[in-house]
Structure formats: C-alpha cells, structure tokens
C-alpha cells in the first residue's frame, strides 16, 4: 500500500528543509566574505580562515575541546552501552525505575540545572575545576544519549543469535564480544559520534564545570559573539561544521559498506 505523496506533502517537506538548512548555508557563505561587515557581501576571500589560525586563544580552546570530546565520548560510549544493556537485558532488578529515570532525565534536563549541580558536586568534594571536571561532566550527560541510541538497536536485536552461540558452547562473555557487539557496532559508532558532537557543542555545562586554563571552543565563541558578530567566528563555525560533516558522512559510508557486506554474506550462506 503506497499512499500518495501529494503536492501539499512535497511543499511542506521542501519548505521545512529550507528552513532547517538556509541559516547554516548563509553562515558558511558569509565566512568567505571579504568585508568585515558580516552581512554585506564584499567579494570572496579566505582571509578570515588565515586570521583564525593565527588566533592563539581560539586554537588553544579548539585543542581543549577536541581532547575533552574524544575522551568523554569514548568513556561515555562504554558506560552508555552498559546502561543500554542493563535496561534491555535485565528487566527486573532493584532500583530499575530509578535507573531508567536517571538515564532518560538528562536528555531533557535544562543544561543550567545539570551544570550547576555538577559544579556544586565538584566544589563539595574539593575537585579543582578544569580539564578533568569538564570531561567528567560531559561523560555524564552524553552517556545517556549513547544509552538511548544503543538501546534502540538492542531492542530490535534477534536474541536467537546469542542463544545459538551459547547452545554451541560459547561462554556469555565470548558470545557478547563475537555475536552481540558486531551486530550493535553501528549503533555504538553513532552513539560515540553523537556524544562527541554534543561535547564539542556544549556551552552551558562546560561554563559551569570548567575553570581557568580549560576554556572550550563554545565558551570562547560565546564570549566573542557577545561582543559582536565577526567573519572570523563564521569561519570557526564553518570549520566545526566541516569536521562534523566529514565524520557523519564517513560513518554512514562505513555503515553502508558493512550492511552491503552483511547482505552478501547472508546470500552466500543461503546458497550454502
């Protein structure tokens, strides 16, 4: 049953995507603007990218952000995957309601509350604010997003595969690493990428959890945006978009390949 795709449907989808993409496209275009006035076109130029790379403050912040992002996304992926396994595989354990509450609540919790509460925790235990505290904070809020992504994959997972492996004598841990993990790997990869971009992106929680010496790129951009819009910021934003876009496209190509490989394997198996 294929319902008709009416003209109204097409128009609303096209307009919707125009609304979603136009601001980003304009931002990218104006990063190549010769003029210092961000909104007046003065000819093509890449000079703002040059001045960006000479801006030591921005470069330092970018380096901090990248390190925080990679470390926190990696740890969050492990914890988030564990949380997703706990939620899907163990349907009954003491405190499960609280646990699932703690996994889902950070998804919608206003960032100012998460940021403030983490900061007060760090102060209460006497942890100096800096690189470590930002990373801890990012692990905490991004692991919940990883958990949701991986959980969605685990729910559609065919458990008879695991049962078959165990019937054939594979111990549970081996079954997990050789059967379960390869199947949910795409979800884990996209979970990592989501965690990484969320960390790259975060202003509010980082502002609370960070201290001197650990200024992240969003914090730097924010403080400059408050002073006014400059083409240099446009250039910084464009580079951030480029990094993420390359990552997303690469991940989807890898996923497609795997999918293709899997289908071929299945066909080969069926032909026997």
């Amino acid at each position: 049953m294929n319902p008709t795709w009416s003209r109204f449907n097409i128009t609303s989808v096209v307009l919707g995507f125009a609304f979603l993409y136009l601001p980003i496209v304009l931002l990218i275009i104006f990063s190549f603007n010769e003029s210092k006035l961000v909104t007046v076109w003065g000819g093509f130029s890449t000079k703002w990218y040059g001045s960006l790379f000479r801006n030591q403050g921005l470069m330092d912040a970018a380096w901090v952000t990248l390190r925080v992002g990679v470390i926190s996304a990696s740890v969050a992926t492990v914890f988030g995957t564990l949380a997703a396994l706990a939620l899907t595989r163990y349907t009954r354990f003491r405190g499960r309601v609280l646990f699932s509450g703690m996994v889902f609540a950070p998804l919608v919790m206003p960032e100012v509350i998460t940021g403030l509460s983490l900061l007060l925790l760090f102060v209460a235990v006497g942890l100096d604010r800096g690189f470590l505290t930002v990373t801890l904070a990012h692990i905490t809020f991004t692991m919940c997003f990883v958990a949701v992504v991986v959980q969605a994959r685990l729910m559609s997972f065919d458990r008879s595969l695991e049962e078959a492996a165990m019937d054939l004598g594979a111990p549970p841990v081996k079954t997990f690493f050789q059967v379960t993990l390869p199947v949910i790997a795409p979800a884990i990869v996209s979970g990592w990428m989501l965690a990484f971009t969320l960390s790259l992106d975060d202003l509010v929680i980082a502002s609370f959890a960070s201290g001197p010496g650990a200024t992240t790129l969003p914090m730097k951009i924010y403080s400059q945006v408050r002073l006014g819009v400059t083409p240099e910021i446009n250039a910084a934003c464009t580079l951030m978009i480029a990094v993420v876009a390359v990552g997303v496209i690469a991940a989807s190509i890898v996923n497609k390949r795997r999918e293709f490989q899997r289908q071929r394997d299945e066909q080969a198996a069926q032909r026997g």
Binding site: V112, V123, M143, V173, L200, I241
Partner: protein, 321 residues
Amino acid sequence: MTDAALSVSAAPDARSSLPVRALRAVASRLVIIVPYAWLLVFFLIPFVIVFKISLSQTAIAMPPYTPVLGFGEGIGGFWSQLKELSFENYLWLTDDPLYFNAYLSSVWIAGISTILALAVGYPIAYGMARAPTALRPTLLMLVILPFWTSFLIRVYAWIGILKPEGLLNQLLLSTGIIHQPLVILNTHTAIFIGIVYSYLPFMILPLYSSLEKMDYSLIEAAQDLGCPPTSAFWKITFPLSLPGVIAGCMLVFIPAVGEFVIPDLLGGSQTLMIGRTLWNEFFANRDWPVSSAVAVILLLLLIVPIMIFQSAQARAQEQSK
C-alpha cells in the same frame, strides 16, 4: 538488583566451576552497577547538594556559602544545624516579583514555542511519512543532520539574519515588501524563531516515527465511507499520532523552559527567562544559594512534564518489545 543478574548468568554454564561462575556473576552485575553508580554520583547526588546549598546562606568566602548539614560535629551537631536551616532563599524568591515573572514568562515562551514547533513540524513529519519508501531514510538523515551542527552556531546564524541591517531585512527592503527595517532581534519573536529552529528535529522525529507506523488503509476506509479528508485527519490521523505529539512536545518544552543560550543571544537584555536568571545569579552576582534555590524550583516546575515524558518513553519501550 542481584537476583536477576545472577540467574541470567548462572543458567547457561551450570557445568563451570564455582569460582568461574562467581566471577561471571560479578561481571554480569557490573553491567548494571557501573553505569548505575556513575549516574548516582554524577547525576542524583549533585541534586541533593543543590538542595542542601539552596538552604544555606550567602557568605563572602570560597565557596561563597555557609556550610550546612555536615556530619563533622556528629549527630548532635547535625541536629542543631537542622534547626538553623534557612528557607530565606525561597522567601527571597517569592518576595521579589522578578523571579516569579521569570518563571512565568519562561513557561509562557516555552509553551508558545512548543505549539509553534508542533505546527511547523507536523506537516514536515507528515510529508516525510507519506514520501516514497526509498526516499524516507534520506529525508530522515536530512532532519538529523542539522542536529550534528553546533547549537550555538545555529543560534548565532540567526543573529546575522534577524538583526536590523541583517539578511532578512535586506531581502524584504530590496523587494519593496517593507520600507522600514523590521525589529526582530532582541524581541520575543526572535526567541520563538530560535527555539522552533533549534528544537525542530526533536519535534519531527517522534512525530515521524508514530506517523510512519500508521496504517494508511484506515484513511482510505474512512474516505470510502464518505468522511471528508479534514475530519479524517482529526478523527484518525491525529489521535493515532498522539504518542508522537506528546513525546515531541515534551522534548521541546522541557529544555526550552530552562533555555539559556537562545534568550541570551536573540532575546536582548530585557527578556526574562529563568535559565538566564539562574546564570546571572551564579556568574554575575555569585550568589550560589539563591541560584540553587532557583534551580530547585525550576526542577519542581518541570517534574510533571518530565514524568509525562518518562511514562511516554516507558510505554514506547513496552510497545516495541
């Protein structure tokens, strides 16, 4: 917590020796314990601390509040401290109309934005769900992609568009639609645009997933029986998409109430939103107890919507099993 974990791991390898089994039992319990402990320490306990500090008093020190409710002086000291707890910060919040107005206008702004996002997102999600099956994964990807670009950047992009000499005004002036530049930046309209734009994917995704699952033959049956398309929509499509509507609205409304970046960058100095008030209390006034009290009340305000969201999530989980 332990019973289920034990039985799951112990069943398949009853032949293994006792130490191996015990080790595996611990390992499978770790799956639960590690993330559980992490979230307890970094998510739940911090809220308890926020509540505790909201009851303390501001002091010129580092950290800038008087310590309360410590066990440093034993149980007796704990009790005497309990008597000294001050609800002054909360009284302060109710005394000053600034805070009340900030809460009210946050809920108001978030509510209007949520309705606008629903109105904008529904036709898009509906159009996507009706699209040819081969096209749907691409469309879905296109909705998710902007989510991968920085929130701050997307809000920042709108400053260039909305400001008085910005791109929107240039376009409208040059086409002769208007003769005076529109003042949009630093008004509520700019905040509405910012929230709808930033949170639109959160609205579209749950809507799309409930609309896509819908059985289209229901609509055809209604039409065969003489039901006009509009009432078929309101009587069949919309009620069936209600879980998606609820999830989408909660995903937009809850974070929007406490939103800081959008009102700060697009709303101008006179916009009152509670996320921004909290930020200013903390960073500008360095009043940690009052900002904690602001956070506690904000959390209380959001508990009902968060519970609705949680139960919707739980139901969706049950359904997909």
